[in-house]
């Protein structure tokens, strides 16, 4: 008895390759589009939501960067609602 159907393998191989090539083309087109548009801040969602890089030219700028860092406070991450729910959902 044949352990596999050769026609199936011959038939599906090119299809799989076709899907893989199509997927790679889609990813390549998307990546090219994304990278090309990365130089256009007005249309880039990332730059509209994230702070842009801070330019530092001298010691005074370094001091300003330090001040900005010191103003960042991570104490407001309040997980109490999550922790209460965790014990209530056993």
């Amino acid at each position: 008895m044949e352990r596999f159907n050769q026609n199936q393998i011959v038939g599906t191989g090119p299809i799989n390759i076709g899907i893989a090539i199509t997927a790679l083309v889609v990813i390549a087109v998307f990546a090219t589009y994304t990278i090309t548009n990365d130089s256009k801040p007005s249309t880039d969602d990332r730059t509209s939501s994230a702070p842009t890089q801070i330019e530092i030219k001298n010691a005074a700028d370094l001091q300003a960067a330090e001040n900005n860092l010191n103003n960042l406070n991570f104490d407001a991450f309040d997980t109490s609602e999550l922790d209460t729910a965790t014990t209530d959902l056993l």
């Binding site: 994304t34 890089q53 370094l62 960042l72 991450f77």
Partner: protein, 201 residues
């Protein structure tokens, strides 16, 4: 290593990370962007947190008893709105704060590269900051993977919530370390500037 995360979520996470990588990496002129090893670590961290949360959930159930499916679902529905709001807020906070430190570190790193210091102390401070940066990105990435909808049909929904909570706390710690490392780097650079150029301003 990904055994506890459903395949569709892994695929979705991989696509998200690939897209995020395409969006973020070209902008990183200073060359300390996320590499493939870090992406693997993000998945590993998320998977580990979920596994730990499931293990802790089982221990808690053994200690205090397991709720009936109906009671759990009722409690879950009661919590769902506040839980979703809380998770959304926390995710936004972690993401924004990470971006904020990143923006400063990017500038410091570019200045460092242009400055070209030769002291081993500064090189070590930069390395520490880069490691702290990667740790913060790993936590933020893991948080993204664990930021799933509150599924009240899932008997282990508490584990999803707990894993997210644990990762928020880990993100907080990572951000503190990241901030401290960049502060140490900037302080060391200012000292070096004062010694080499007399620029104390």
């Amino acid at each position: 290593m990904f055994s506890r995360l459903p395949a569709n979520r892994l695929l979705a996470g991989a696509l998200l990370l690939a897209i995020a990588g395409m969006l973020l990496l070209p902008a990183r002129s200073s060359g300390h962007g996320i590499n493939l090893g870090s992406v693997a670590k993000i998945f590993e961290t998320a998977d580990r947190r979920k596994a730990e949360a499931l293990s802790q959930l089982e221990k808690n159930r053994e200690a205090v008893g397991q709720k009936s499916p109906a009671a759990r679902q009722t409690a879950c529905v009661n919590h769902r709105g506040r839980l979703s709001d809380s998770k959304d807020n926390l995710y936004k906070q972690v993401t924004e704060q990470t971006y904020a430190v990143d923006a400063i570190f990017e500038g410091v790193h570019v200045f460092y590269d242009n400055f070209e210091p030769e002291t081993s102390q500064l090189a070590a401070a930069l390395k520490t900051a880069e490691n702290a940066y990667l740790s913060a990105q790993v936590e933020a990435g893991a948080l993204s993977l664990l930021n799933v909808d509150v599924d009240c049909e899932d008997s282990d929904v508490a584990a999803d919530v707990a894993a997210f909570s644990t990762t928020v706390k880990a993100s907080q710690k990572a951000l503190e370390d990241y901030k401290r490392a960049v502060l140490d780097l900037t302080a060391a650079m200012r000292t070096e500037l004062e010694q080499t150029t007399g620029d104390a301003n």
